[in-house]
């Protein structure tokens, strides 16, 4: 049973952790991205934050961890630990509605629903109904299934000609 004091501490820590932004998608908070999995307090008052990697090799994990520690210690929490939570694996379905809106507002096409069930071999380009985040046209084409970071694919709008990033369904 947590004391009222601990509950308040966790709530405050969670609020602060929730506002830390992603280093590569700074329009998104870690909470909106879905990588912030848990904020808890231990008996000695240590705040333990759980984050999960988006991709196995995501190099932004260290920065996320450092940012969380800096923000929480800056807010007066003396002892802060960040732990890795591998399971269940991150999925783009965890990106919140606010997060999706923030992506679109910043010219990045948000992901559709992530595939589930058996892994199928697909020998034709992934068909996604994607709207250009610049002009809203649905006349878009994929230029590469891999983008500037592990989580993105590259698209081009045939209507306005602008290239844009799409967060891959994962």
């Amino acid at each position: 049973m947590m004391t009222t004091l601990e509950t308040t501490a966790v709530q405050r820590a969670r609020a602060i952790a929730s506002e830390v932004t992603d280093p590569e998608l700074p329009m998104l908070t870690l909470a909106d991205l879905g990588v912030l999995r848990d904020v808890a307090v231990e008996d000695d008052g240590t705040i333990v934050v759980a984050i999960t990697p988006t991709y196995s090799g995501c190099p932004a994990m260290a920065t996320m961890r450092d940012d969380l520690v800096h923000r929480l210690t800056g807010a007066g929490f003396e002892s802060v630990r960040v732990r890795v939570q591998l399971s269940p694996p991150w999925t783009t379905d965890w990106i919140t509605d606010d997060g999706r809106k923030a992506l679109a507002d910043n010219g990045i096409s948000p992901p559709g629903v992530a595939p589930r069930g058996p892994v199928m071999l697909s020998l034709t380009p992934t068909r996604r109904a994607i709207q250009c985040p610049q002009c809203g046209s649905g006349d878009t084409e994929v230029t590469s299934e891999f983008g500037s970071t592990a989580c993105k694919a590259l698209y081009r709008c045939r209507a306005c000609g602008d290239p844009f990033d799409h967060i891959k369904e994962h």
Binding site: P23, V48, A50, P53, Y55, S56, G57, C58, P59, A60, A62, T63, R65, D66, H70, R81, V82, R83, V84, Q85, L86, S87, P88, P89, W90, V119, L121, S122, L123, T124, P125, T126, T143, S144, E145, F146, G147, S148, A150, L154, K168, H170
Partner: protein, 308 residues
């Protein structure tokens, strides 16, 4: 493996143009400190699992990913166009991530595997395994270490490697060891994406020009002899992981499907023999691995006390 920014000791820092940057991670894009990639993950060995055998198995899967990622990263700036260059680098990055987790898991399960370095060395366990073992201690399959050929060879090998690894990882999502199961569950999504990428390019090259078809056919003649090794059983794999022999049918079905769409037939080539029955899984490698490791390890070995 860990974040690659070297820092020097602070002696004579007034002469060091980088001194002002040190000690504050915020200056770096991705931080400089070491952190266990399994920080806070429960690495207790489950009942009925032999810790040293589990560690050996994680080394095998980790070495496959590490060595192959190194080969893929040699493509950086050499791909036919920028999009493909980025794609190959992304695939290599996914595999380095898988390697890092698996080597860290191996080290946690059996610390005796980890090469020892001078007292006080800050090099983390997974980096010690990556940079301070010689070729004979690596357990990757030989397909991973083969020297790069042309773009067709890249695609043919990537198709085989990702098909095989995906089949393994799909079975490991239910593994008794929760860490291995979690690494596999994450890896499945990545590998499925790699396989699709390779499969599409395979079809494109096969049905493209006479030249692309010829190059792909040549590439298959160098890649296909290394397939039998992928599905040869070893005791460690059969006991603690996935028996590779049980994957042969599934891999065959997927490759047949791609080849059928591509309109190309598999070459009839004998498998590459081992040395007295020993292959990559036993530490018996081709000469190419020593050269790959020399390049990959030289800087880390020159600085066993270095912070990266």
């Amino acid at each position: 493996m860990s974040d690659a920014h070297i820092t020097q000791d602070t002696e004579g820092e007034h002469d060091n143009a980088y001194a002002g940057l040190l000690g504050n991670d915020a200056h770096w894009a991705f931080g400089t400190d070491f952190e266990d990639p399994l920080a806070g993950v429960d690495t207790t060995i489950p009942d009925g699992v032999d810790a040293s055998e589990l560690a050996q198995y994680c080394l095998m899967l980790g070495d496959d990913a590490l060595v192959y990622a190194q080969r893929l990263s040699e493509w950086t700036s050499r791909a036919p166009d920028l999009e493909e260059d980025i794609a190959i680098a992304n695939i290599a990055l996914d595999l380095v991530g898988q390697a890092r987790l698996l080597l860290a898991r191996a080290a946690a399960a059996d610390p005796a595997l980890v090469p020892s370095l001078p007292e006080g060395s800050p090099v983390p366990d997974e980096d010690r395994l990556a940079y301070f073992r010689d070729a004979g201690a690596f357990r990757n399959v030989r397909l991973a270490e083969q020297p790069n050929g042309d773009f067709a060879e890249l695609i043919a090998r990537l198709l085989v490697m990702s098909t095989w690894r995906l089949a393994i990882f799909q079975r490991l999502v239910d593994h008794q060891d929760a860490v291995v199961a979690a690494i596999a569950a994450k890896g499945v999504k990545e590998l499925a994406y790699h396989r699709d990428f390779a499969g599409r390019w395979f079809v494109t090259l096969a049905r493209g020009t006479g030249e692309s078809h010829r190059r792909l056919t040549d590439a298959m003649r160098t890649v296909w002899p290394l397939i039998p090794e992928l599905t040869a059983s070893t005791e460690t794999e059969s006991r603690v992981g996935v028996d590779p022999a049980t994957l042969a049918d599934e891999i065959g079905v997927v490759l047949d499907q791609v080849l059928a769409v591509a309109g190309i037939t598999a070459p009839e080539t004998p498998g590459l023999a081992g040395v007295r029955g020993r292959t990559g899984r036993h530490g018996m490698h081709s000469e190419a691995l020593s050269r790959l490791l020399a390049e990959m390890q030289v800087v880390a070995r020159a600085h066993p006390m270095g912070r990266w």
